[in-house]
Subunit: 363 residues, 4 copies
Amino acid sequence: MKNSIGTSVVLTLSGESHGPMICAVLDGLAPGIPVDEEVVAAWLSRRRPQGPADTSRREKDAFSIVSGVFEGRTTGAPITILIPNEDVRSADYARTMGLARPSHADYAAHIKYAGYEDWRGGGHFSGRITAGIVAAGAIAAAALKRKGISVGTHILECAGVRDIPFDEIDPSAQIESIQEMDFPVLSDVRGAMEARILEAKAARDSVGGIVQTAVCGFPAGVGEPWFGSVEGVLANALLSIGGIKGVEFGAGFSLAGMRGSEANDAYCVKDGRVLTSTNRSGGVNGGVSNGMPLIFNAVVKPTPSIGLPQASVDMSTGAEAELCISGRHDPAIVRRVSIVVSSLTAIVLCDLLALHFGTDYLR
Amino acid sequence: MKNSIGTSVVLTLSGESHGPMICAVLDGLAPGIPVDEEVVAAWLSRRRPQGPADTSRREKDAFSIVSGVFEGRTTGAPITILIPNEDVRSADYARTMGLARPSHADYAAHIKYAGYEDWRGGGHFSGRITAGIVAAGAIAAAALKRKGISVGTHILECAGVRDIPFDEIDPSAQIESIQEMDFPVLSDVRGAMEARILEAKAARDSVGGIVQTAVCGFPAGVGEPWFGSVEGVLANALLSIGGIKGVEFGAGFSLAGMRGSEANDAYCVKDGRVLTSTNRSGGVNGGVSNGMPLIFNAVVKPTPSIGLPQASVDMSTGAEAELCISGRHDPAIVRRVSIVVSSLTAIVLCDLLALHFGTDYLR
Amino acid sequence: MKNSIGTSVVLTLSGESHGPMICAVLDGLAPGIPVDEEVVAAWLSRRRPQGPADTSRREKDAFSIVSGVFEGRTTGAPITILIPNEDVRSADYARTMGLARPSHADYAAHIKYAGYEDWRGGGHFSGRITAGIVAAGAIAAAALKRKGISVGTHILECAGVRDIPFDEIDPSAQIESIQEMDFPVLSDVRGAMEARILEAKAARDSVGGIVQTAVCGFPAGVGEPWFGSVEGVLANALLSIGGIKGVEFGAGFSLAGMRGSEANDAYCVKDGRVLTSTNRSGGVNGGVSNGMPLIFNAVVKPTPSIGLPQASVDMSTGAEAELCISGRHDPAIVRRVSIVVSSLTAIVLCDLLALHFGTDYLR
Amino acid sequence: MKNSIGTSVVLTLSGESHGPMICAVLDGLAPGIPVDEEVVAAWLSRRRPQGPADTSRREKDAFSIVSGVFEGRTTGAPITILIPNEDVRSADYARTMGLARPSHADYAAHIKYAGYEDWRGGGHFSGRITAGIVAAGAIAAAALKRKGISVGTHILECAGVRDIPFDEIDPSAQIESIQEMDFPVLSDVRGAMEARILEAKAARDSVGGIVQTAVCGFPAGVGEPWFGSVEGVLANALLSIGGIKGVEFGAGFSLAGMRGSEANDAYCVKDGRVLTSTNRSGGVNGGVSNGMPLIFNAVVKPTPSIGLPQASVDMSTGAEAELCISGRHDPAIVRRVSIVVSSLTAIVLCDLLALHFGTDYLR
């Protein structure tokens, strides 16, 4: 499968940045899940560019659901969501046509598609496609809620400014509010982050960061030991999001410097439930969920579109060339990526649950 | 798919730590690939416990290939590799029976399999299963070599001691020698690493680390933008290996602190080939290979089996209990994991190449 | 996968009979294939109800391709085709609401989807969805033509009237003309077939038949011995088409009465090419194509919607009830199914070719 | 996937006719299913050549289960079954080496695998591989029984002699006994069938037939409308079995000559259960099970290995040649295929049930 993810619950994405619309098909969700279009709209609004720290491209995201929902509930048949593209200025891109933008997909796509790719605005590689993920994710998250499962993502780090991590708080207490924030942070760091983003923007440059996700209420016993691990399927999904270049679970890369006695999560029993007193495993052992919150981080590279001149190559002639990008771009996409990560996580977890407990588990 | 990975080239793993044997089926490899059993044996020997820094369990790995190879070459039909288990001491494990070992899969497996799991030595979750990955990986790596593609993994960090990274050298110059080292490092750090491992062992504790992999010669244009990205399929594979809790590509998590102007890989043209002057992208843009070496790191947590007493839970009664593990265990598995990572990488890349270029590409 | 078929070339279908539109996403086709909207329109017109022997529901099929095609050619990214529904009269169906139509999917769907299904006009089970197959199939067939591969389906039998079979003629001579016929038959049987259909219609009844497909120019060596046989993947696809209840290859069920000496296809060599002098195998041995034309038959049951009263059950109360269906229905769908079979065949064969020869084979 | 079938419950087959053993890996079955090796042996014995009407090759089928079963029950981890090959006489085949046997896979395999195939005894294409299907199927059938689901296959027709079909009896009454018969027929036709087989054998020829399968107790609501229909997944599986060239459900090809009023299955209610008074749909509507017995037929072509001289081609030179096959062959494989069909059906149905109801449904 190429532009599809999942086995029992499957998301298929199509569309290009400058085409007429983005299309997302979400198949396999249990029948009977209420679909609230206002919630979908709210999730899309969190992905949308909003202030000076985002691109000035304005997106309305006037989506329509054209199949799979009947009388306000999922039917069990595939859900098709269409999101028209608006405020498209292909002219901005025409200026860079033929020049590969560094650390963008332009060159790799040109080789892969033998020059037939729709290059306008990154085409099918554009972050614009993630609007489809978010619309579908809003529905998947509503399905998860029926079993008390919540997904929330905050900006753990942006441009060197760091938020407090989930393991210093009780994630279940804040996950609902995080899910509804436009600028999701757990502490008072928004001002500092935005200031650094605007500094970079003023320098015609961009910044990166790290997003951190918690999933509360996910049952133990889900996932496979080999090749269908909870970690593997989530990482596979998240690494498809443009700009994400690494994923770590629990204590992640910091485990390299720990001893086993520090890294191991000791068991304890509270109110008859088996828990661990720490959660350095991020809720997964041997690929299988252990009943603790799933916790994972994803690194988001700085937006590759920057205003500074860069060394490029002309793909039609093969010659070196200097590139100046002048379109409207995000100096940071970390904020916008956070809701995409929550969305894709919700979809992937619906799939894992359906595989283990059956297609009707979330009904 | 559960214990299988891949679409066109597929690896299926079965077997348990204390069962009669491990079985690996590698299906879909091109016909006509020479299979050298001595090379397979050499790869297996690198995974095997070797010195005081490893477990004292001795494994002979007397494998046999019982299908898919005829007159010394692959036939195109599935290759079945059987690796008998030997020197098994279930008694060591019997003592911990019913007590969940912290940060092991015991508890998650117990819930998942409703108490029917083969718990001896971790059963199907055991690192022993990776012998099947390595035997299959040796054959896959031989297939890749026919197109000039090499995979090598070294220990970038262990117990706080750091090797030089691939991006400070030309990986293509050292990848062949790295592939054949028992203790793969790029600089003179073996002594320091082993000393730290033995320190931890003396303290009945364990240590972790980071392995770094380079793939040279991989063509541009392979991988998919959404959900079949080179990064996603590799991460999905690697995160199935016991102990790996995070994967990052190129500059990985350090991209969070960079500006776009630092993070972007400028293009250049050398001898008519399009290259980038840095490789912070790790050879992948937009999910698709760009012709530069693939570079990625995986973090290996400290071995969870340690001799120190730990807080556990008795899975049959649900009561808290203290656990002392007394079997033979690795104080560090970083060295042994490195060949497993190379092996699984080789298998996954054969799959990506077969999907893009056809099943006969590597013939 | 549920509403998707294929591995490298994948078709995903969504939409309901009385929803706003049908959506087909065709992913994985090689870049650079010319897409001629007039050809797509022509294929759709062959599926459309046309005369007194079809339903009187009029469908315009004003499709639009909203992704994956750029400057008249496929880009390699997924192709999204939207086909609005028009001339929908839900009132016709409201009358049967709650009563399961015999040999329709109503009851099975009601159980499967726990009563949440969109029941209007059969919802997602409606033959209307096949419009998406045909639009995608027209593009797939254009891709096959680039390698000289043609697909054609004729009505071998309808209401007891029999056409001549492909093995009595040279299929390659007539396959192009068959592909363009509105009422595809190889001999002068249209009048007799239509007369029998109208007889059944007058009796408020319906008739069935058999369609026969030939594929010329398909290369030898494609398909898998176990579980990916050319026969298996085609049958899996065709048996999803509403009304098809059986598929046979080559001499099919008549092989039961033959001896080996009659059934075996003797080899011969013509102009240096290895052929067989008969083709009772239908072009496939051991699941793998042998270079001869692929020939297969599919049986189409009589349309289950008939005007005669039938014994039914009220799904809300569980009580027996008499059902009279009064909407507009096809007294025979055999003619309309023939282009759907060709379309789905073309899509499946693109997938098999891409898996074996790589994604760019048809470019 | 190539030599694997299934999504949640997956069977992977490897091995060659003249290699050391056949290997079957059955993954995804619920934990806790009792595994009775005597039952597995009994199923294998039904597939084994037995009398003068079968090949004189004697197979012992001394299988061993080397993973996935612990203390007599499935663990949930993959089950590996090894079946050694014995009484192999490659010399019989050496005589035909290089000559393509008509209607065998030899030529297609030679093209597909570029001449690297293991040609001895048909290699991986051999019917010998079906021993792995039967061993795995015996375990799958035991799992189905826990929910009261039974699978049985009889010889509906062989060499022109016809047994009574399932729809003339109550299949649930005879399905258990059919499952245990060495020569499974519903009426007194064994003698006539064997006489005709021996006639063909005496003429150095072979005969074909039709097997018919019933599944009783299968719940309604399972299967998918498009591309995962119960019919499609079963047909895909069965058409991988050597010699099966067609599959039909319910009234199958005879529906072509019926009117809707004859073909439709009227609903009725008995003891509060919704049933149909006929079962021409074979238990499936719109791809989804309707709660009636699943009934389907598969045609088995005459064994292609016959003693009569045949026109062949020398694959190394490309020249025409006459072939005389002198090995030990089955004059009919219909009897032996029947247990293979039941086995594969059981495996596929376990997969469909696990997908719909979850992995633990059959526990």
